[in-house]
């Protein structure tokens, strides 16, 4: 065996360097995150007041508040959820409980949802404009926007619900069947309650996605900042309001900051609750009733 020497010092130096780089990257990312939040708080907090939440925007949004915009946002979200939830959860139950994992029908549905998940939001906007606004004649309305968002939410709602149902231990199904319970009763009384945290987490993630969305709403729910009278009226979503104020309204920065702060705080809250639910679920698969 030839004489070899082991050199230790070089690897120590290199390890140090790599560690330094990793820490630097982490610092940069955390720094930017804090920078963004601090910027939003600094720019927006002075403009926040109770009136800001309830007043109508005046002077193209430079003055006044975001009352009607919050209402439109909530209505768009409501339409999206009312349409998407039943469809998504029905699909998830079918995929998780009724069709074998390898069946052709299941594969097709799953694949189509997977593709749908990758579609860019601007393309949803194009589709929503062509189908809901023009083909179905709904025009620029809260209904068009909500339906477009419903399409967008389907994949995330289905995948979270399906994963939640699959995490329910198999022996619940076996025991329920051994007790002669019908599949409907098993589903309603056992499986859905057991999967409830996952369903809720998915729901919150979906809400977060929908509230954050801008591009898909540009040509579907429209720009009108008035208080909507019905679902067929155009309504401006909060995200779109921020976009419009910052791009098209000179001097709209202060209300834009405030609106952005409202949106980010809302989304952070939604995401934190969703995370809590999801982690709780991982730690303790099933909650004792």
């Amino acid at each position: 065996m030839p004489e070899i020497t082991f050199v230790r010092s070089r690897s120590i130096l290199r390890d140090r360097l790599v560690q330094l780089l990793v820490y630097a990257a982490v610092l940069v990312v955390s720094g930017v995150f804090i920078w963004i939040l601090a910027d939003l708080v600094r720019g927006g907090v002075a403009h926040l007041s109770w009136n800001f939440f309830v007043d109508s925007p005046r002077d193209a949004g430079r003055a006044g508040g975001i009352g009607p915009i919050l209402v439109s946002t909530a209505l768009i979200l409501l339409v999206a959820l009312v349409v998407a939830l039943p469809l998504a959860w029905a699909t998830a139950v079918l995929l998780a409980e009724f069709v074998p994992a390898t069946s052709k029908f299941g594969t097709i549905v799953r694949y189509s949802l997977q593709v749908l998940a990758g579609v860019p939001s601007i393309v949803f906007g194009l589709f929503g404009n062509a189908f809901f606004s023009i083909y179905l004649g709904l025009g620029f309305s809260i209904l068009s926007g909500g339906l477009t968002l419903a399409c967008m939410l389907l994949p995330i709602l289905v995948s979270t619900a399906e994963a939640g149902l699959r995490a329910v231990p198999e022996n619940y199904r076996m025991s329920a069947a051994a007790l002669g319970m019908s599949r409907t009763a098993t589903l309603l009384h056992l499986l859905l309650p057991a999967a409830a945290p996952a369903l809720a987490a998915g729901l919150l993630l979906g809400i977060g996605r929908a509230v954050a969305e801008t591009a898909a709403l540009l040509f579907t729910s429209g720009y009108v900042e008035r208080m909507p009278g019905s679902l067929l009226d155009s309504g401006r979503a909060l995200a779109l309001h921020i976009f419009d104020l910052s791009m098209n309204v000179p001097g709209g920065d202060a209300p834009a900051y405030a609106s952005a702060l409202v949106l980010v705080v809302l989304l952070l809250a939604i995401n934190i609750v969703a995370m809590k639910l999801a982690y709780g679920l991982q730690r303790k698969r099933i909650m004792p009733a």
Partner: protein, 287 residues
Amino acid sequence: MNTHDIEEIQRSVEKQHTFTLGPLQTGPACCDPQPIVQVKNFSLHYDNKTALDKVTLDIYRGCITALIGPSGCGKTSFLSAINRLTDLIPNCKVVGHIQVDGVDIYQSACDVQVLRQQIGMVFQKPTPFPLSIRRNIELPLREHGVTKRAEVEAVSEQVLRDVGLWHEVHDRLDSAALSLSGGQQQRLCIARALALKPKILLMDEPCSALDPIASGVVEDLIVGLQGRYTIVIVTHNLAQARRIANYAAFFWVKERAGHLIEFGHCRDIFETPVHQLTAAYVSGARG
């Protein structure tokens, strides 16, 4: 669980006269064997693997029949074939006949839910639902049309008494079933099955996931059920089979498929086995 509790449980289990739910028409005990389940040339396949090959066997009313044999010899498959739980396993195919009270259960006319109400099952791992203790018993009862509150409560109390759980849980029926100890959970599962007034109880190693003391309690309970219910029990514990069973069926894997090697009175199987595989297995030489 302290020792006082354990004595209490054992005492309540021993009080067999407290059973009121066992159907009185279970018929004569084992001195006069009368088949309730008749298995004829029954085979079971998963995909292209054969789990059971041409099993023919009678299970007698009111008796305890133990299914013994090494792992993977098809005992559990056989058990779940009797209440058609095999329906839930994808790609599972059955050939042959199983008759329960003279009715072929694999005919399309057979209502699976009624069948499973009449044939209770207890699994190896205690499987209470993530609901309250009360709801665990109530849910299957309601499913089978027992909806009157008084009725449900009476039945719940009775079955909980039958399994010796009543005095342990009567003051916390609304707490989570999953908060019970392993042995208590298993007795709750037995109570839940008994609530449906089954004719037959299928038990898949009901003691093997429990600690020795809880296991003893459950075993005594099973002995107490003898005569009132027909019991088919899978067990790896030969001593247990010998202690509690009237009949024993010995399964063995031959050519990658489960076969029934020998069936007979429990004592005969253990003391004068006909087949040399049986002799080797029960003496601990093989398996």
